[in-house]
Symmetry: C2
DNA sequence: TATTGTTATACTCTATAACTATA
DNA sequence: TATAGTTATAGAGTATAACAATA
């Protein structure tokens, strides 16, 4: 006799539940960063110094390019980022962190580290590291396979 | 020299990225279930036969009780669920799956299993099981700590 | 008085399309 | 012709409040 497939066995349920809890805490932790957790991600992405065009950042963060405009408007108004023309392509703009932006990013990172550790509280240190690593691997791989959804759709038609 | 804290090191980024990929595929896999992946979760939750009041289901699924009304309206219109008065508490309603609802749930589950395996493709079988288990443990624990957000907020003020 | 469920309203978030300036 | 970015509009999704029925 097989146990009834509970919702809690569902990967989508687990992902959604954990992300909801994370966002509830993260919103407090990054208070002061316009755009909340996503504004933080923009800062973090810009801090790398590579792929800092608005479009590249939008794609890596999974948001529409129009949303990126709004996010950057607010971050720029708050003095956390600057938009400078790219000398190599004058259509594009390079997003640079200001000094205040760097400081705010560091503060947000400290807060988020605590949130993450609190969220992963039920796991021991080894398990936390394992979860982080596995999740990151899946995330990185799924980002590289944006175009293969059709293949899966075909595969699914047989269900 | 420490490596710059990339966005991809962020747990929130990984969770969001994986969930986005999951939803993109899951929407196709559960086509035909009103409400998409969340309609499926309602069916799955109702199938357990326990905690099938609308409020209890809404809470376990992390949606507002008003949203549950809309979801059930559509599922009932499609003939997948029935709302029966709870004899023990005539304010509440028990959500029951119809025969068609059970069949649709099974079909959706088969599709979602394939989606999950495709998503976890970059991991070997042991790692897939580990990720599922760890994520589920975190999800179950975070659901039990809904009330402790304030404690964390206080803890975070020192950041 | 508190709780379950419904409805109506408003708000936020996101997606679409049209526009500019460059390439 | 195609691309980066902006703007305006509309749409989906969500939250808020008020209500009826019951505890």
């Amino acid at each position: 006799m097989t146990s009834p497939p509970d919702v809690e066995q569902d990967l989508g349920w687990a992902l959604g539940t954990v992300l909801r809890s994370y966002l509830r805490l993260a919103n407090e932790a990054v208070a002061g960063v316009p755009g909340g957790p996503r504004g933080y991600q923009v800062l973090s992405s810009a801090a790398s110094g590579e792929r800092t065009s608005q479009l590249a950042m939008a794609q890596s963060l999974g948001v529409d390019r129009t949303v990126m405009t709004y996010l950057l408007d607010d971050l720029e108004k708050a003095g956390l980022v600057e938009r400078k023309p790219d000398p190599a392509d004058r259509r594009a703009r390079r997003v640079l962190l200001t000094e205040a932006g760097t400081a705010r990013l560091c503060a947000a990172e400290r807060g988020l580290r605590k949130v993450e550790e609190h969220l992963l509280g039920p796991l021991d240190p080894d398990e936390r590291h394992t979860l982080r690593t596995l999740l990151q691997r899946v995330a990185l791989a799924s980002g590289e396979r944006h175009g293969t959804a059709c293949d899966v759709a075909q595969e699914l038609e047989g269900c």
